[in-house]
Structure formats: structure tokens, C-alpha cells
């Protein structure tokens, strides 16, 4: 808000209702403890398809998808209302891959045919989409990308290897970035069933599912380019900004839940004959976490609002939201463990799940220091 009036940071009545419904549904049906059972059973999917379908029926997967493609035609802000609640219980369902990376890429750069073919399926919960961008050699610097797209008669042939592709183990389509002969970056829509694509499941600390996606001369048609030829880097940046905001909404929810569980714990846990929450040393640290969460809530809501209403402000606010939400979630997760004491570092207790997700989200879509650097650039210093 450089001098002008602040955006509306309040939820309207429908959004409050949506938030409440989602909160109750997720608390009841999708407790964070699921992360542990998916891990221990080496579940092949790694999340619940049934739950994903139910959320599709509730309309949550198509909230932001335009009505022309069988969605509800609401805003990114509405999607963030659900994302915040999904973050509370660290849901491993494919929100980030399908609703953030995949859907935003289509909405920002997809052709009419691509949107018609894929968005209705996403809204219905039948289509899982993801983006493969990270490579072993280009983790922080996408210009070191090794995946190439060689021109062929029909279009292009893709070769390379993408790592930590979220839900890449069972996505129905994967959008991958590749370098063309002129050195530019272009995005291509790939069907993992096509010849030359192999995926290998990866297991991470945070319970999100990922895969290594190997492309060995995969033939793609010209029509499978997403966005402009050579326009991949710009498009991806815009997608990552939105994804960073959506992820920040999840981090906000996760911070709130970890904090709420911790407050509840220190009110009950007694040592020296009194609840440990009566100790000022813990109280003041709790207030610090509370304050950071309050600040983070403001920036996440503002960033979500700009995506719908002030596109020029998105880069600045996305960096603000991602940097602050990352630091807040990490701080909340660390304090949650410390205040739980010994039980907090056991695998048995759910509170330890939060720091694993905090570490993963901290590193996803730009670390805080990278966002602060971009913030400085955007402000001319």
C-alpha cells in the first residue's frame, strides 16, 4: 500500500461460512496424524482420493475456476480461505500441485483448448496436474536448467530430469520447463503415460508426495506448449507468485494450529504444582508468536486480495507474504516443540509434524532471503 488505501482484509459472510465449514470438515476428517499413517503404511497414493473427491463435490477444488470450465468462478482470495484451513492439519492432498501450480499455469497461460480439456476435470477432482521445474543442477538458479526441447517435425522432443515434482508419482499431466535451441525457456504439457516418461516416487519429511520425473526424448506436439514459446520463465514467475501466496495461506493455517495446540498444552501441563503457562518466560514467547501470526494474517490476506484486484502489486505482496509466513511458521513450529518439552520431540505426538512441514514450505517457491532481495529490488534499492 504505497500511499493508497489498504485493500479490504476482511472475509465477507460467505467466506466466513466457507472458512467455518472447511475448518470443521478438515478437523473431523483430515487430522494431521494421517501424515504418519500414510508414511508408515508406505501408502501408494500418499493421500486420500476419497477426501479429494468429497472436496470436489463441496465445490472447493473449483472455487477459483471460471464457470465456463465448470468451476464456481470466485476469486483466489476464496481459494485461500480453504487453503488456510487445509494447512491447519497439514493435508497432503494435492492442493499445491494441482490447484496452485497446475491450475494457475493454465489460468495464466493456457490455451482455450487446454483449459477446456483440463480445468473441468480439476474442478471435479478427477484430474491431477503438476509442474516440474526443479532440477538437481538448478535448485536456486533456474538458468542452469538442463532439460532441453529439441525441435522435431510435429513439435518438440523433451529430454532431462525433474526432481521433487509434487504429486509427480500419479499426476495425470505434468507441465515441465525446458530450454529450446535459442536458449529461451518454454513450458510443455506432458502426459506421463507417453513413451519416454518415467517417474520414481520420492519420500520427504513433510508428508507431501513427490517424484523424480525423467524425460527421455518425449515427443510433444506444438499444441502442448503452455503460454508463449520462449515465455516460460515469465509465466513461471507469475505462477510461483500465486503459488507462494497460496502456500503462505497454508502456512498461516499451520502456524495457527501449532500455536493453538501449544497454548492448550501449556494451560494444562503442570510442573512445580502450577500450569507451565503461568510462567512469564513462556507467556512472553507465546505473545511473540501470536503477534507474528497476526502480522502474517494481514499480509497473506492482502496478497491474496491483490491477485484478484491489483495484479501490478502481486510480486511485491507475494514476496512479503512468503517471506513473513515462512519465518512465522518456522518460529511457531520451533516454539511449539520447545513448549511441549520431551513429548514434543517424539514421533508419537503430532506437534513434531509441523516443523517438518515448516522446513519444506520455507524452502519452496523461494526462501525468505530471496524474497527480501526481490522486495529490495522492487523498491529500488
Amino acid at each position: 500500500m504505497s500511499g493508497h488505501t489498504a485493500p479490504s482484509l476482511l472475509l465477507n459472510d460467505e467466506q466466513k461460512m466457507l472458512s467455518k465449514t472447511a475448518h470443521e470438515f478438515i478437523r473431523e476428517r483430515a487430522p494431521a496424524a494421517r501424515i504418519r499413517s500414510f508414511r508408515d503404511s508406505r501408502d501408494e497414493v500418499g493421500f486420500s482420493r476419497e477426501l479429494w473427491n468429497e472436496m470436489a463435490e463441496l465445490g472447493w477444488l473449483g472455487l477459483q475456476i471460471p464457470e465456463d470450465y465448470d468451476g464456481l468462478g470466485l476469486g483466489f482470495f476464496d481459494l485461500c480461505v480453504v487453503l488456510e484451513q487445509s494447512g491447519r492439519e497439514l493435508m497432503p492432498e494435492p492442493f499445491v500441485s494441482t490447484l496452485l501450480l497446475g491450475t494457475q499455469t493454465l489460468l495464466l497461460g493456457g490455451t482455450e483448448a487446454q483449459k477446456k480439456a483440463l480445468l473441468p476435470g480439476i474442478a471435479a477432482g478427477e484430474m491431477l496436474l503438476t509442474v516440474g521445474h526443479e532440477e538437481a543442477s538448478s535448485r536456486d538458479d533456474s538458468s542452469k536448467r538442463a532439460t532441453v526441447a529439441r525441435k522435431s517435425a510435429e513439435g518438440f522432443e523433451l529430454s532431462g530430469e525433474k526432481i521433487q515434482v509434487l504429486d509427480g508419482h500419479l499426476a495425470d499431466r505434468i507441465i515441465v520447463s525446458a530450454t529450446t535451441s535459442d536458449g529461451g525457456c518454454t513450458l510443455f504439457l506432458v502426459d506421463p503415460a507417453d513413451a519416454g516418461v518415467t517417474t520414481k516416487r520420492q519420500f520427504r519429511i513433510d508428508g507431501l508426495n513427490a517424484a523424480i520425473v525423467k524425460l527421455d526424448g518425449v515427443a510433444v506436439h506444438r499444441d502442448d506448449i503452455v503460454g508463449e514459446l520462449g515465455g516460460g520463465a515469465t509465466l513461471l514467475q507469475a505462477v510461483f507468485d500465486r503459488a507462494a501466496v497460496g502456500l503462505s495461506a497454508q502456512m498461516l493455517g499451520a502456524s495457527e494450529q501449532a500455536f493453538a495446540d501449544t497454548i492448550e498444552y501449556i494451560k494444562e501441563r503442570e510442573q512445580f504444582g502450577v500450569p507451565i503457562g503461568s510462567f512469564q518466560a513462556l507467556q512472553h514467547r507465546a505473545v511473540s508468536v501470536y503477534t507474528e501470526i497476526a502480522l502474517t494474517r494481514s499480509v497473506v490476506l492482502a496478497a491474496a486480495r491483490t491477485i484478484d484486484e491489483a495484479p501490478d502489486e502481486v510480486p511485491r505482496l507475494a514476496s512479503l507474504a512468503k517471506a513473513m509466513a515462512s519465518e512465522t511458521f518456522m518460529h511457531a513450529a520451533k516454539e511449539a516443540i520447545q513448549m511441549h518439552g520431551g513429548i514434543g520431540v517424539t514421533d508419537e505426538h503430532d506437534i513434531g509434524l509441523y516443523i517438518k512441514r515448516a522446513q519444506a514450505t520455507y524452502m519452496t517457491f523461494g526462501k525468505p532471503s530471496q524474497h527480501r532481495q526481490r522486495w529490495a529490488e522492487l523498491h529500488g534499492y
Binding site: M1, S2, G3, T5, A6, S8, L9, L10, I263, I266, K267, V274, P275, G277, S278, F279, Q280, L282, Q283, H284, A286, V287, S288, Y290, T291, A294, L295, T296, R297, S298, V299, L301, A302, L320, A323, M324, S369, R372, Q373, W375, A376, E377, H379, G380, Y381
Partner: protein, 401 residues
């Protein structure tokens, strides 16, 4: 919503048409920025006085007070809008100060009709300046330990004792005091009464206190057999603690808001000082660690402003809630970080106290940095604010203090 939008357009037009051009861009536009007035005021700037008069005439020095007391009869939402419009062009409020933002709203709620009629119009018109008699040498963070004695004698109270940190007592006309009317009350929060005193009353002595910055608005105020009429008691005798807390809530919120200058101004200030002292005309700050620190400050600043906006949007009512405690904690932290960073980039040029070899801006900045250390202490220290949030917002059990 559209009604408030209409009002915003009206307020914008009025403020821009009436605020003297010389005052544009000169103020943080907070509750303490503007003409403080009172009988000892020596303001001579004709534009300041004209702006004051226009504000009084419109009823917009105290927009949400009833018209009969010199206010504008508007809602708190409308008042927010008027203040936001003044802030948008950085003009001071036509009249500002503790009477308007702290004492007045509480007198409106807890005072009787006679007291409202006696005191509020003078505050709204900037004719009577008020100061606060709260802290004492042995009652700082533990405010309820206050001992200024008020004994009834017929239809008068006799005041004996001392107040400290009475900001601007030397320039004020009246003081609202927390007094001890029942020294035998079972709890120290009981037996406290709010009593008003004209500072011209015989027996009152005011002495200034210098701070580490070399100057200060603060005073000590001594009471030696000071007689005030019992009609100066606000609310019920011995039940003043509730009123005291209400004024403190307004103070916290006002301090938070007064720190909230123009969004982005702290970052701009620190970047400008960096360019000046490190001789970087434009482009990126070469030191990546320093740049990261400046960006952290800029982000905290924006988050603070967005949070103030969110609180204002959700709280249409006039009583600041516990969120006020957070705004003071964060606002004062932001202020201190800003000055620390501004001092850091100045290096040894920030070490000047006075005299040759230092420019005026740097000398002033250093004094302001020193002054900023008080911000996390005055108006309830950050630790006290955290105690309040811990108890009232988080519901944590009270500890043994």
C-alpha cells in the same frame, strides 16, 4: 459500505480544500501530531491557527464526539476516514493531544453531564490542554501501587504526593490523576479514584526531567496540600481502576497509531540515510547483509500498516480492544529498529552531540534514536503489554509476579 465510500469522498474533498497548503506533507498525522493548544500555547503560524479554526467550525477536531460538546456527531468509522484522509496528504490534525485521544473519550463514557459540559468543549477547541498523572516513583509497571493521597475534607479533596512522567505538565492547564482514596482497601486495585485538578491550584509544582536524548516532554509534578472540589471526582470514589485502564487502552492504541506514519516512510528514510552515508547514489545497496536488514524493516513496516488497517476495518466500535496492545508492541519495535538501522549506516557521523563536524539532520537523528529507547517503556512497557495479551487474549493463567 457505499455510505462510508460516499463519506470518504466528502471527507477527502473537505480536507484537501481546507487544509492550508503549507501544512501538506509536514506531519505523521497521528493522534499526537497537530496543534496541542492550551492557555500556554505560543503558536503563531497563521496556517496552523486557521486549520485549527476550520476544524473547530466543522466539528472535525473531535469528529465522533456529540455536537453539544464541540464534536461532529459522526460515527467512529467516519472518524477513522477523516483521520485517514488527513494522513493521506500528511497534514496534522487541526487539534491534537492527550485530551482528544485519551482523556476525552473516557470522560465521555465515565464522566457526568456537568463534567462533560465543563471540560469537553475546551478540549475540542484546543483551548485547554490536559496531561496525565499516572506513574509515581514507586508505581511504574506496577501502576496500581500508586500512593498519591486524596483525602476528603468537607466538599473538597486534599492531594498530597508526587506524580512522575507527567508529559508536558509544564505546558498543560489541567491534569487527570489517579489517586489513593482508600489506603486500607483489600486489593491495591481498589481504593483508587480519578480526580481532575487545575494545574494553577496552589500547592502544585512542576519540574522538567531531561532524558538521555538531552531533552524531553516529561515532568515531575508535586502535590502539597492541594485542595480540589469533590465535583472533580470522575466516576465512583474508590472505583477508578476501571477508568484508569480504559484511558490506558486509548493510550496504547494512540501510541501505536502515532508511530504509524506514512506507509513506507521508515524504509524510505533508512534507504535515504544509507545512500547519504555510504555514498550510493542509486541502484542496489552493495552490502547484501545490510540490504537484507533494510528489506526486513520494510516488510515489518508494511505488515504493521496492513495490520492496523485490518484492525480498523474490523473494529467499528470506539473502544480499542486488546489488539491495541499488539499495535504498541509492534509499532515501538518497528520504531526502534528503524533508528538502530539508521544509526548503523551513519557510522561515526551518528556520534555527534552538538557543534561542528556534524550536520543538523544527523544531530537530530541521533537525539531521536536516543528518544526512541523510551518508546518500549512509556505508556506501559512492552513486558506489561505482553502480560496483558497473555492474560486477556491467550487466556493463560496469571503467574506469580
Amino acid at each position: 459500505m457505499s455510505e462510508l465510500d460516499d463519506f470518504r469522498a466528502e471527507a477527502r474533498t473537505w480536507v484537501r480544500e481546507n487544509a492550508p497548503k503549507s501544512l501538506w506533507g509536514t506531519s505523521g498525522s497521528g493522534p499526537f501530531d497537530g496543534y496541542w493548544g492550551g492557555s500556554k500555547c505560543e503558536e503563531t503560524d497563521p496556517d496552523v491557527l486557521r486549520w485549527r479554526d476550520l476544524g473547530i467550525e466543522k466539528g472535525w477536531t473531535a469528529p465522533s464526539w456529540p455536537k453539544e460538546y464541540g464534536g461532529g456527531g459522526l460515527s467512529h468509522g467516519q472518524e477513522e476516514i477523516i483521520h485517514a484522509e488527513m494522513k493521506a496528504i500528511e497534514v496534522p490534525r487541526p487539534v491534537a493531544g492527550q485530551g482528544l485521544c485519551m482523556f476525552g473519550p473516557v470522560l465521555l463514557k465515565y464522566g457526568n453531564d456537568a463534567q462533560r459540559a465543563q471540560h469537553l468543549p475546551g478540549i475540542a477547541r484546543g483551548e485547554v490542554r490536559w496531561c496525565q498523572g499516572y506513574s509515581e516513583p514507586n508505581a511504574g509497571s506496577d501502576l496500581a501501587n500508586l500512593q498519591l493521597k486524596a483525602e476528603r475534607d468537607g466538599d473538597e479533596y486534599v492531594l498530597n504526593g508526587q506524580k512522575v512522567w507527567t508529559s508536558h505538565a509544564n505546558l498543560s492547564d489541567w491534569i487527570y490523576c489517579l489517586t489513593r482514596t482508600d489506603p486500607n482497601a483489600p486489593k491495591k486495585q481498589m481504593g483508587i479514584s480519578v480526580i481532575l485538578a487545575d494545574l494553577n491550584t496552589p500547592g502544585i509544582t512542576v519540574r522538567r526531567i531531561d532524558l538521555i536524548s538531552g531533552y524531553s516532554p516529561f515532568c515531575e509534578t508535586f502535590f502539597d496540600n492541594v485542595r480540589v472540589p469533590d465535583e472533580n471526582l470522575v466516576g465512583t470514589e474508590n472505583e477508578g481502576w476501571t477508568i484508569a485502564k480504559a484511558i490506558l487502552a486509548h493510550e496504547r492504541s494512540s501510541i501505536g497509531r502515532s508511530i504509524a506514519r506514512q506507509p513506507g516512510s521508515a524504509q524510505r528514510e533508512v534507504v535515504a540515510r544509507t545512500r547519504k552515508h555510504l555514498d550510493v547514489a542509486d541502484g542496489p545497496i552493495p552490502d547484501p547483509l545490510l540490504r537484507d536488514e533494510v528489506a526486513s524493516l520494510g516488510m515489518l513496516e508494511e505488515a504493521f500498516h496492513l495490520t492496523l488497517a485490518r484492525i480498523q476495518q474490523s473494529a467499528a466500535s470506539g473502544t480499542p480492544g486488546p489488539e491495541g496492545s499488539i499495535t504498541k508492541i509492534v509499532g515501538t519495535e518497528l520504531k526502534q529498529k528503524r533508528f538502530e538501522l539508521g544509526m548503523k549506516v551513519a557510522g561515526t557521523q551518528g556520534l555527534g552531540w552538538e557543534g561542528p563536524g556534524f550536520d543538523e539532520d544527523d544531530l537530530q537523528y541521533t537525539r531521536d534514536w536516543l528518544r526512541s529507547r523510551a518508546s518500549t517503556i512509556e505508556g506501559g512497557s512492552s513486558e506489561i503489554q505482553k502480560n496483558i495479551v497473555s492474560k486477556r487474549v491467550l487466556g493463560l493463567p496469571e503467574g506469580k509476579t
